[in-house]
């Protein structure tokens, strides 16, 4: 199977600290999928440190797109950390364009990436790559256990087992700010790509990387997006 896994940046950082234990578990799951014969692209987000740099840039009144550039560069650093944790069968350089990513993927190695260009979240990057390589599944590992009808902490918010892309778009738009580094479970661009490419997507709780294996084996976990 061709698999794209998006790992939220805030997953691999606990407050200011980088969560080495969780990263090691991700590395283990990824190596296992590789051994089972799957072809893998991993896209890592920026997380807390990205947000810290972006806030600094914003205070300096840097344009959002330039803030975004920095966020992308930090997501790439997180990708390098994951590469070091995976260690074998992984391409040691983080691709910086879609074309480079596709080319490296064609050589058979695990590809680990951060962002690409300003104006695209790492979720959109994961969707673009999934589309480009005709992935069989896109697993989105986040800090919640699925998609809710409203922000999870809202009273009455219910977890959904399935959502259509239309529903997802609606839920997201009510809660999203369009700024570099802002938390976005799935942004409009990512949803549009999922829809046009008819990508099978699973949104799962990434705090336990085993959920990735469940998602790939078709077990019931998180929320399934119906493209």
């Amino acid at each position: 199977m061709k698999i794209v896994i998006k790992i939220g940046g805030s997953l691999i950082q606990l407050g200011e600290e980088i969560d080495l234990e969780l990263i090691s578990k991700y590395a283990e799951v990824i190596r296992r999928l590789k051994r089972e014969g799957h072809k893998l692209v991993i896209v890592v987000g920026g997380g807390v440190i990205a947000r810290k740099y972006i806030e600094t840039m914003r205070k300096l009144k840097a344009p959002e797109s330039v803030c975004d550039l920095l966020g992308i560069k930090i997501a790439r650093l997180n990708a390098y950390i994951l590469i070091s944790a995976i260690r074998n069968d992984v391409y040691p350089k983080v691709p910086e364009t879609l074309e480079e990513a596709i080319s490296v993927f064609s050589m058979g190695k695990i590809v680990v990436m951060g962002g690409l260009q300003p104006g695209q979240s790492t979720n959109a990057v994961a969707a673009l790559l999934a589309e480009s390589i005709r992935a069989d599944i896109l697993v989105n590992a986040t800090t919640v256990d699925g998609v809710y009808t409203a922000p999870p902490e809202t009273p009455g918010a219910k977890k959904l087992d399935q959502v259509t892309t239309d529903q997802l778009m609606e839920i997201m738009q009510s809660s999203t700010e369009f700024k570099a580094g802002e938390y976005r479970l799935f942004d409009p661009l990512a949803i549009l790509i999922v829809r046009r490419a008819r990508l099978p997507v699973k949104i799962i709780d990434g705090r336990d990387p085993q959920n990735i294996l469940k998602a790939i084996r078709g077990e019931k976990v998180g929320t399934t997006v119906i493209p």
Copy 2:
């Protein structure tokens, strides 16, 4: 003034033909703005030939993002044609990343570009660049004379002198398809960037390049987007 001008790809192509006369007029207007001391970035779209290549790719069942890559490359070819028409004080190479574009712009030459990465229309590229260089105005030259309440050919559609980004988003979403090379006066990503960067935008009839001068001098022309 720092000015970004987006020129729709379909403007510079008449059916299958490249409209040399109109291109020469654009070159004249751009050289004039340069002589008057303005700093310029021009973003050119893909047009008919882009769509022809993209359709071919689609028939070959290429993923949309790969189709997009081709559309971007053709928009860049159109940029090379405009560079040849402008001839002096213009940077002879088409930048391929946002960072390259910003760097070249800082050296004082006219910058002419096509697209950047899949998932972003050339309208979004123009908005990103306008944001990045803190442009005073973004002029969007299209094949209609402004924004209408409905597709211009619809009975009862009225031209608007002003729109807010919210209105624009609403109008656009009712008529847009999210596919490589598809006609989009202004796509969601472009609108979101215009809004967050509070960019002054003018949408004008690009069939007469003099409208660009009018827009820049603050004369009444086309539709003004209130960010």
Copy 3:
């Protein structure tokens, strides 16, 4: 066997249209050769659209070498189309320098290219690559069924089964114009490389891609160039 196949740009375009059916047949032949264990480089020409862009540039009084740059970029677009048609076991990026092409070829994938640098036709590029990778054969697929003693439409022109490089040089020089995008069955630079590298060359009728298989199997087809 190491095989270089040059596909004329005018083959894959019928007038203004891209000939999807023929492209699919080429893709099939190429995949088959790959399955049989051959190592392949394909060089695609620019064709009608290249000529259209070049003419536009010429009317803008762009230097020929800059026209050539555009022709090269369009040949690369054609290469991307062929890549999409071949789909598997093909390197997804079009190399832009000889060194890049040789490097990618060494990794075992099918390489598909357009042009390299101004002043070199795609025929010369095919010859350079054939020389660089020590190809066993260079098959040149054109719109005629071989080399004639004079332009094929001339009364009395006879098809040749074999030509020496000296004869070929003579025939070519009487009918060639040295301009970006001009029709050239085989230009002087290409012939000189064929001669110095002692490359076995077959010039065949590319309107039927099966002729490529015949040429490679040593069957009688087209014209054989004796280096």
Copy 4:
């Protein structure tokens, strides 16, 4: 004058926080030097965040040279922050090779850099650049007010007004660890380059950026290295 300024990474970070106030003061000093007609290269170090990433990599048992790569990438992020703070007359991209840095410098803009290649501290990078552009002075802004006979906190350690490169080498070797991201006032490679290029160097207290102006005007401040 041609001036290279090295700004220690720990200066621009207070613990986990990026010190925006100090960065703004640096930007002011740099803009002022530019207005006075000086030509400037600024090299920024990695600081606390670099060390955090490097420690993470080390725990993953990444080779030191790969840790170094990450430290370099973070120093470059710090350079982007400084670029945003300087804002005008500064090249917007951080050069990644010595050749790129020299080329950009030749175009007359302020150049801001992080590191270059593993095995070289940002101090060595500053010295290499100072040598390459034949700088009149290299100002090293650190968190101490000059070179001491022993680590500053040691009882009896005395600040020196002048040191020879031999003395400096001796002092440094007794206190330096050779690891990615480790604190090094001036490492052996940097000292060797200073010596061979006979570079005038001033080591000053960077907590007050005014000291840079003093150093450049030849006022008594920090420690002067006699090459």
Copy 5:
């Protein structure tokens, strides 16, 4: 005036030695032309050391195009030496593609180059660049004092004050070998470009760099090629 100067590689090497005195004279002439307001591109050939490396490669049975690659890289080293000799107002990096050369030239610095791609002599590169920047003159500095009716050492060979490109082609073809690094006063590709671009060319004795000044001032010197 826009001027392209080609300096033969064998001029700047005496046997195995690099002729520093002559190089310094060239640098002086180039600086002087720059001071007089001319815009300059210099193309340097490979010379003896190039030929030594190429011979080694040939003995290892490397393909000619790969030999060519090495010759190009050595011509670029010679370019770096000339850059060091010119020292000011010169771009410190040697461009490696036509597009890069044109871009750097547009920024107003003296550009110094070696070769571009296999299959093109540095003479052809000089002609391509002269065409691309619409040069007013191309001065070719060689080790003879002009074009002769036959190789200069042949009894009865006469120096010509003027040649047409047709004559030049005829003279050259009788004496040229088409191999990497081989001596060629002017190869077919270079002549074809001179002809199509109608470039004014002067072939002069480069052993005295003052001849360059004479050629540019329109004084009688060497051989004039009538395009």
Copy 6:
């Protein structure tokens, strides 16, 4: 085994001549190691021609770091010669950054390199790479048969079978000049990397490439560095 072999530049050049016979023997040894299943990186030095170019640059008063750039480029040419000699299973392009080298190595081909950045000898490059790929052994092929207590020609100098990195540092510092292209058996940076990475190093007489095989098989030869 993962093996890094450093071949001194003066080994492959006899005075002004390139020693083709020795190069062929090296190629044979390298192919043999590849066939035995080892993974290989070869780093080649600059040698006599590098020194000639560097001297020329120095006479032109070029900064040492710029001289170094040229030395690096010539070491890369030597790498291309070795690539041509090895011919199969070798990556045809010489990597120019550490990251590129590591990436190419991960694809399973023999990697052949010259230098990386000014300020680092090719010995340091070999050590950096050995560290980065976690090499099992670094074999340093030089023109002497091991490390001596003093320069080998000194009366009383004794060859050592083993040295610690501290001893090596001491021996080297007494005899080393820190200049581009200067002879250095092992420079401080290289030793520091060997020490921190605990790299097993063998310094052997490279005039007989069979010594490389002996070193790898653990036979007694040259000097062993105890990290």
